[in-house]
């Protein structure tokens, strides 16, 4: 055979494989508002950068007439490309081929590209759109999942791992995304659950739609499994690109520096945003924007546990991770969900050399039987653990309330914040004046001729004496009391002198965080 013939044979083979599950299946996929797997990769990566591998992989199923079936690429597309100009490894499950079901060779393709990402020290992006395990392949499909989970765990904290849920992701399949750093979902397209509506109906007799059980909104707002919610696949890809602009490519590198820009203080002015009365709410995201480059703030898990705000921004061009109590929601308390959300983010930043900025304004932990019984002790402990463990530069700004355990937990100097700044409005105390006065002056109030009058007087006394940053500053627990408008400059200075920070930690295999 001549070279031309050989080449045309290759081209024919490629054409067949590139058709995936065929035109009918492709039309069906598109009718549901979804792109095909290859279209998704091309839309996400830099133009013309995608190079596909293992196009000719075939499935290894022998039972149930599987040996007669041709499944192009075995239902998953893998390869390398660039994102924002930097290399990434990527895979996308192809729902048009046997419902994107995961068989042994399908899993082998995924683990091969994951191994590749680990060797090259570049991010791995997984686009999930699969009906689940390929039942016909039995234990081999389970083995496939196990091999993926193991690699997710090994890669955790070494290279960024991004999961994009663009279809069903059910049963065992959900645990790969759950082990990765960031999970992206799209409204009406993403569906994640361990047991689906049919099983629930059979066992419980309860009817629920896939959307209500594990749709994008549920995963973003209720469970906290998802980090980013988008209305469309295109919006989702934009979010991924933005995320990737903030994070370093592996745990040895630092995030790329951008040109520095001042905040847009005309729109975000701390003096007008910030109410000094500790009982008045405000949106802490506006305070963040008043501090950051170009007033940009890329929020993570915006819908879940909104009483704490986490996300990335830049100070003088360099990425920092913000953790901030949100007085606008549940008064900014720490509770089971917000502790969980903050702790994981702190550990992410620490693993990937991203300095942490903590804005403190919280009345403490959320009181309630449900919180106690849901384990607020062990969940709350995660925040203490994560902050204490983190060795990246840690800067804390106490803006208003920092009461009790909340004060300690929010990266106090005791957990080794490198810099603790407080605004003159800060109130650093065991609890709010009202609660403290009621306890300390219980007898005086009870025995007074006019208890209400006495209570008011004692609250005022306590407030005057303790509801300020100067008691903590007198002990050196606050490094500097600063005007709010100085915050950005102080943070930038602190960052610049911390760039070579090295902190030794005790030699150990790993700690045992309360998770």
């Amino acid at each position: 055979m001549s070279l031309t013939k050989k080449t045309s044979d290759l081209k024919k083979r490629m054409r067949d494989a590139l058709m995936g599950g065929g035109q009918v299946a492709i039309d069906k996929q598109k009718a549901t508002g979804k792109m095909t797997a290859r279209e998704r990769i091309i839309a996400l990566l830099d133009p013309k950068s995608f190079h596909e591998y293992d196009l000719f992989v075939e499935h290894a199923g022998k039972d149930f007439d599987m040996s007669d079936k041709y499944l192009p690429g075995d239902g998953v597309i893998t390869g390398t490309g660039t994102l924002n100009g930097y290399p990434v490894c990527i895979y996308a499950q192809d729902f048009t081929v046997a419902g994107g079901s995961l068989g042994w060779m399908h899993a082998k393709k995924i683990t091969k590209i994951m191994d590749h990402a680990m060797k090259l020290k570049v991010p791995i992006i997984g686009i999930n759109d699969s009906g689940g395990a390929r039942i016909q392949e039995g234990v081999n499909s389970l083995a496939g999942y196990g091999e993926i989970f193991y690699r997710n765990t090994q890669a955790s904290g070494v290279i960024p791992q991004i999961s994009v849920i663009l279809g069903p992701c059910a049963g065992g399949a959900v645990y790969s995304p759950a082990l990765t750093d960031f999970v992206f979902v799209v409204d009406k397209i993403s569906k994640m659950f361990i047991t689906g509506p049919e099983v629930i109906k059979t066992v419980l007799g309860e009817e629920i739609s896939m959307e209500e059980l594990g749709g994008a909104r549920v995963q973003s707002e209720i469970t906290g499994n998802a980090h980013f919610f988008a209305e469309s696949e295109t919006e989702c890809f934009e979010q991924i690109k933005t995320l990737c602009s903030f994070i370093p490519w592996n745990n040895i590198k630092r995030a790329e520096a951008f040109p520095k820009k001042p905040p847009r203080t005309r729109s975000y002015n701390i003096d007008t945003i910030f109410p000094t009365n500790p009982r008045q709410p405000y949106d802490v995201k506006d305070v963040i924007r008043a501090i950051t480059d170009d007033s940009e703030f890329f929020e993570i898990q915006s819908m879940f546990a909104a009483n704490i705000v986490i996300g990335f921004a830049r100070l003088n061009g360099n990425t920092v991770g913000f953790v901030a109590n949100q007085p606008l929601v549940l008064a900014g308390v720490l509770d089971v969900d917000s502790s969980d959300k903050a702790a994981r983010f702190i550990r992410y930043c620490d693993a990937f050399n991203i300095p942490l900025v903590t804005l403190v304004d919280l009345p403490g932990y959320l009181p309630g039987i449900d919180q106690e019984h849901a384990g607020v002790i062990r969940h709350g402990a995660k925040v203490l653990y994560a902050y204490s463990e983190a060795t990246v530069p840690k800067m804390t700004v106490i803006t208003r309330k920092a009461y009790g355990g909340g004060y300690i937990a929010m990266c106090s100097s005791h957990l080794r914040a490198d810099f603790v700044f407080a605004w003159p409005t800060a109130e650093i105390a065991v609890m709010g004046p009202e609660g403290a006065a009621n306890i300390i002056f219980r007898n005086e109030i009870k025995n007074a001729e006019n208890p209400d009058e006495m209570r008011k007087q004692k609250i005022k006394e306590y407030k005057d004496k303790f509801a300020n940053p100067y008691v903590a500053a007198a002990y050196g627990y606050v490094d500097a009391v600063i005007e709010p408008s100085e915050t950005r400059n102080m943070l930038i200075h602190a960052l610049s002198i911390s760039s070579e920070k090295v902190q030794d930690t005790p030699k150990k295999k790993h700690g045992i965080p309360p998770f």
């Binding site: 409204d187 066992v203 419980l204 007799g205 309860e206 909104r217 707002e221 209720i222 980013f228 919610f229 988008a230 209305e231 979010q239 500790p278 009982r279 008045q280 709410p281 929020e299 915006s302 819908m303 546990a305 909104a306 009483n307 007085p327 606008l328 929601v329 549940l330 008064a331 900014g332 308390v333 969900d337 009345p363 403490g364 959320l366 009181p367 309630g368 039987i369 449900d370 019984h373 009461y403 009790g404 609890m431 709010g432 004046p433 009202e434 609660g435 403290a436 009621n438």
Partner: protein, 108 residues
């Protein structure tokens, strides 16, 4: 990242005697009120199907007496009396599908 179901209404939350003005989350508003344990109340510990009920209302039972059989996850579980007493009420019958934490039997 729009479209949260969270209410934008400003409400009040009390922490250590201080009233804070703030929004409440859907999850916070949906939280279940606590109900203390009643010693003779028998709840399903797992969702499943009632295979059979061996006790009757009015029966005097000893702690450990099998009251009914609950099948869940392909396992038949004996549900037993937690205390000595008289069965006041049985809320399920053979074939019923029950969720988790369903009050099955009340013993006095």
């Amino acid at each position: 990242m729009s479209g949260s179901h969270e209410s934008h209404e400003i409400r009040t939350i009390v922490i250590d005697n201080v009233k804070y003005k703030t929004r409440l989350t859907r999850k916070f508003l949906d939280r279940k009120p606590y109900s203390p344990d009643v010693p003779g109340h028998v709840y399903s510990f797992i969702p499943g199907t009632i295979l059979g009920v061996s006790a009757k209302e009015g029966d005097k039972v000893k702690k450990g007496t099998i009251l009914l059989e609950l099948e869940a996850m392909k396992m038949a579980n004996n549900i037993i009396a937690p205390i000595d007493g008289t069965i006041k009420k049985i809320n399920v019958k053979k074939g019923d599908l029950v969720p988790k934490n369903c009050l099955l039997v009340e013993i006095e």
